[in-house]
Amino acid sequence: MNNSIRKYIYICMSVFLGLTFASCNSSDSKGESKLVINEVLVNNVANFQDDYGQHSGWIEIFNKSYGSANLAGCYIKVSSQAGDTSSYFIPKGDVLTVVKPRQHTLFWADGQPNRGTFHINCVLDTIGSNWIGLYDSGKKLLDSITVPAKTLGRDMSWARVSDAANEWEAKGKEESSYVTPSTNNQTLDKNVKMDKFQEHDKNGFGMAISAMCVVFSGLIILYILFKNIGKVSIYLSKRNAMKAKGVTCEKEAKEKKLGEAQGEVIAAISMALHELQNGDHDYEETVLTITRVKRSYSPWSSKIYSLRETPNRK
């Protein structure tokens, strides 16, 4: 293979691989859990109440993925003092433990697991800090959080700023930051992206320019790649043709147009197109062509095997 072709291949491959590796985001590729602890309310006095009309502390789990996740068989562990950890096994067989994509599930920390799947066997400490861990069925830690002591007052929750966000904050102190059991931590009452476009790109010019740039750049890269792949292919077919014809001189190969499509092929295609274009079959040529049809025997298509035989009367 000559040097220029080899150079092209190296350049193309290194550009693609370089782009791919350079843009790899290693922090996002770790195996993160779908389920996270999203909000915790420790001291429930007049907040959300359970089906029994009781006000108890609660732990909200959020499925941050776009597929369903099942909590059955998972564990919720709560510890308010070192060495004193209670563990709650989330029962299997309850369809409600399947959390839909981007949805929430609430567990009541009332210490009464006999009240149902979503009532855990411990209560949260309203004075000290609480460590809460969510484990999968193999007891692998999925997520954990320490709810700080004395930071939260009555009916205040410790919650992620928005669903599955890394930052946490105390909610319920002011009217603007309210407690959100079983619902999004940050209510989305507008389409941020669309509003941005409406604000900064009223006539759509920005969208047109940026989108056309992306379309063009994608197809330009494809063009560059296939231009070079084409060059390699032409070189290879020429080399093979030279080998087959026993030609060693490049000049001679060029003169004989080795590796190029022959004029006859192009003529045949043009003829076929011409025929197709003008081939209105109002009058058939009435020429019959009889071709022998040869069907090879196969037991898979044999009627002997697929039809039931007529019973013999004896």
Binding site: M194, N203, A211, G218, L225, K227, G230, I269, Q277
Partner: protein, 386 residues
Amino acid sequence: MGDFISFLSQNLADFWTYTGFANATPGHIIMILIGLVFIYLAIAKEFEPMLLIPIGFGILIGNIPFNMEAGLQVGIYEEGSVLNILYGGVKSGWYPPLIFLGIGAMTDFSALISNPKLLLIGAAAQFGIFGAYMIALAMGFDPMQAAAIGIIGGADGPTAIFLSSKLAPNLMGAIAVSAYSYMALVPVIQPPIMRLLTGKKERLIKMKAPRAVSHTEKVIFPIVGLLLTCFLVPSGLPLLGMLFFGNLLKESGVTRRLAETARGPLIDTITILLGVTVGASTQASEFLTLDSVKIFALGALSFVIATASGVLFVKLFNLFLRKDNKINPLIGNSGVSAVPDSARISQTVGLEYDPTNYLLMHAMGPNVAGVIGSAVAAGILLGFLI
């Protein structure tokens, strides 16, 4: 006896309230007439019959008047009805990728591979989408609706349905019908623009015959095409993934049965379901609005812009090309992805001026590039707005 007669007459009167005659509105009649026009165009003029027959008949199905309050579960918008279940494929956007699978399995990218610069024409024609987007914004549509309307300019029915199902589901019926109608009307819309924007000399340009493309190149194309376009625009994955997958089935040479199913029975089945349900979704009560009229006007405009930008781009491109390597601007129209109709238009118009100039093979290049370009554009719009 008198009681019995009054019972019978009461029954018949009740029955009358259920009939189409009692429930017909002028809207229904207008839509039925539109459906009949579609069927006429398909049969008498042979404008995209594969699309217009199912859509036209679908319009008739969707506009049979019935008592909406009776809970008959027959309407396409009534949950649980048969039509509603079939419409699920349109609403949730899984018909379009399956159509793309079939398109991939029947598309020969050789023309494009042999002359890859034709890809750029496919990119240029996408300006129809963004031109229509800008006009739609000016007409008062919000950015998401404008994007869904603009995609009509891509001349790609499945992409239009896919994008509108995500960005503006309430406008999907009008967008889909508009996209398919204008695709069928490509032979009417494009030639005047092509003639207007090209000179006599340009129309006679004879392009270099495409080179033979090796099997290896044909196999590499869908793989590299997928990796490259989807790394750039992952939101186009459902469409581009299926398009290139279908093409690999075809070109690999070892999955002939799968390729035949994808380009035969599968695409036929989905085309029937898609056509008839899109047609039926034009129920007069939902469809006959001022917005629909605006969408139809914008759709026509987007086709005009797309065709013009393709032709003008070729003229511009020719300024930078060697004399023996020039492109005939009559293939610029095929940058819109109505495959293979717009390529056929290039061929027909080209032959009008020079009966020995066969442009079909060359026009297929930008034509299939247009399919890729419009799917990429749809991915960009999704990525920007969702």
